[in-house]
Symmetry: C2
Subunit: 320 residues, 2 copies
């Protein structure tokens, strides 16, 4: 199995360099999950490191929230490929002086996220480390995996839910304000779209990714993997009202603010044109059609009718 082409970015440069060293020893890199065929089934597996000061700060979230969020972020990778969550392994790195209550609270949060996904905690590891590290490996069953690479010219581009709350929370915290309750809740308790993902797969989704690096950045990954481009009507990007308020306060366009917001864990998917708006209404959560896949590479974004640039740049490699 060959790897899927990755989009631009420093993290992806590093992954490309590592994949080059592995040659034939590596297989199928570049999706939200790795796939493993066994006993006639396709397993989806993902490994996700959440590191203090990078993915979370202890003054922003309680240990239970840190655990919930790390597990939900990992489990969202299963949603991204339309896999059914089965199991989770948890490794925690913490300072040797860390009180035992931290581990118990992390366990509470991880357990809650696993329960919401219908997954069981089956193992893990503990280690000492200077920063708190919460590392989740998740395993699911992918009866009909949806990869990043199947988008075809003409496909509709859809996104679940409304965007912008995580960046709203992040922005408030970084200037020392308490975020609006809806933004804080969304940041600390993301809701991976397991059910919607499987319904999108059943509707014939040709490609899918979960929004962890921002709609703009993740769209580039999907397009790179599929070898296609896109036309996006930015005014159709669904923005949460609180995010709209936050964007206005910053003097930014709401759609641009929402497109930069990462760790959303909403789904970005492409669907055949045959899938109509009524079918999208049956997904249990709002689904917005924001554009169309085109053969020509690159993103052509329009703000009715002015050409604009869809921002990217939620960078997990930032050091906060």
């Amino acid at each position: 199995m060959s790897h899927q082409p990755l989009g631009p970015g420093r993290e992806f440069d590093r992954i490309r360099a590592m994949a080059a060293r592995w040659g034939d020893r590596a297989r199928g890199l570049g999706d939200d999950c790795a796939f493993l065929e066994i006993g006639g089934e396709t397993l989806a597996v993902s490994l996700d490191l959440a590191v203090e000061e990078i993915h979370f700060r202890r003054d922003w979230m309680s240990p239970a929230e840190i655990g919930y969020r790390a597990a939900a972020a990992a489990l969202s990778d299963l949603a991204a490929v339309a896999a059914e969550p089965l199991a989770l392994l948890l490794a925690v790195g913490a300072p040797a002086s860390e009180p035992e209550e931290t581990h118990a609270a992390l366990a509470d949060g991880v357990g809650e996220a696993a329960a919401a996904a219908g997954a069981f905690v089956i193992g893990g590891d503990l280690a000492a480390s200077a920063q708190l590290v919460v590392d989740c490996c998740v395993i699911g069953r992918a009866a009909k995996p949806v990869r990043r690479s199947g988008a075809r010219p003409g496909d509709r581009i859809v996104v679940t839910g409304t965007l912008g709350l995580p960046l709203t929370a992040f922005t408030a915290w970084t200037v020392g304000r308490e975020p609006p309750p809806a933004a804080r809740e969304r940041f600390v308790r993301p809701e991976p779209r397991y059910a919607a993902a499987r319904r999108l797969a059943a509707l014939g989704a040709t490609a899918m990714i979960d929004i962890s690096d921002g709609l703009g950045g993740d769209l580039l990954q999907l397009l790179a993997a599929s070898g296609v481009g896109a036309r996006v009507d930015v005014l159709r990007i669904p923005v949460h009202p609180e995010a709209r308020t936050a964007a206005t306060r910053l003097g930014q366009d709401a759609w641009a603010f929402a497109a930069r917001s990462g760790e959303e864990y909403e789904l970005l998917a492409t669907l055949p044109t045959s899938v109509g708006d009524e079918e999208l209404r049956d997904l249990g959560i709002p689904v917005s059609a924001i554009g169309t896949i085109e053969a020509e590479p690159g993103v052509r974004a329009f703000e009715d009718p002015r050409p604009v640039t869809l921002p990217t740049g939620w960078d997990h490699l930032r050091t906060t």
Copy 2:
């Protein structure tokens, strides 16, 4: 599936506390690997965090050696349950300033360990972190898994290879000396016992564990999981000549030094009495019979014939 009882120790107290919070949401904790039944097959999965300054130091090992060792340590968990290695996922946390060459060299080492195990690299994650973190998830097929819990009174206790080199290397480094070449080589390039593990399973091994916390500590885990005790003839513990020299220099008994040495990645197994010494000679590596399982809990160690205490205490939670 209930959890296996864990032995004493601070790390295990934390795991017990976490498992208590999970209740029914957790399944089968306490073995070297988690097991997952899928498509009529049993998968073995393990997650292993290696953290700078805890599991390795950059002035002791090159990035390629750090990668090899982290992957081999994780893959050894598959050997411990007699599983056939299939796949590995790698997550790396590194400072944002880390040169790309570090990732490439880590990839080289991980790829080499995967190749030695016959496993493929199928995915992973990159994150920023203050310390270098190398996190491996390994997946194997366990046609006939050997757990820690099956040891029965009368079983023979055997250990593969010779012990003591990792502690020899560690001791030299911590006092600022270069370790003897054999000790350094063993520390940076452990050789998980995949083939021997499967032969021990074929011989009917009733319980097995890989020696990561020292023979003394890991024997306690195996006994706790099996609900039995052991009689050990400490003079039969196989000690590498270099480790013997190091122990003598420190004024310690060679067997006690070897029993404390962790991150050995040799196997400690129990076998029915029907397995004779000739069969053990066919394992491809030296196998030493060091004692017998007894019904009465606890370890009764003898130095021909003086009762002695088998040391434990290779503590991954140390902060070096």
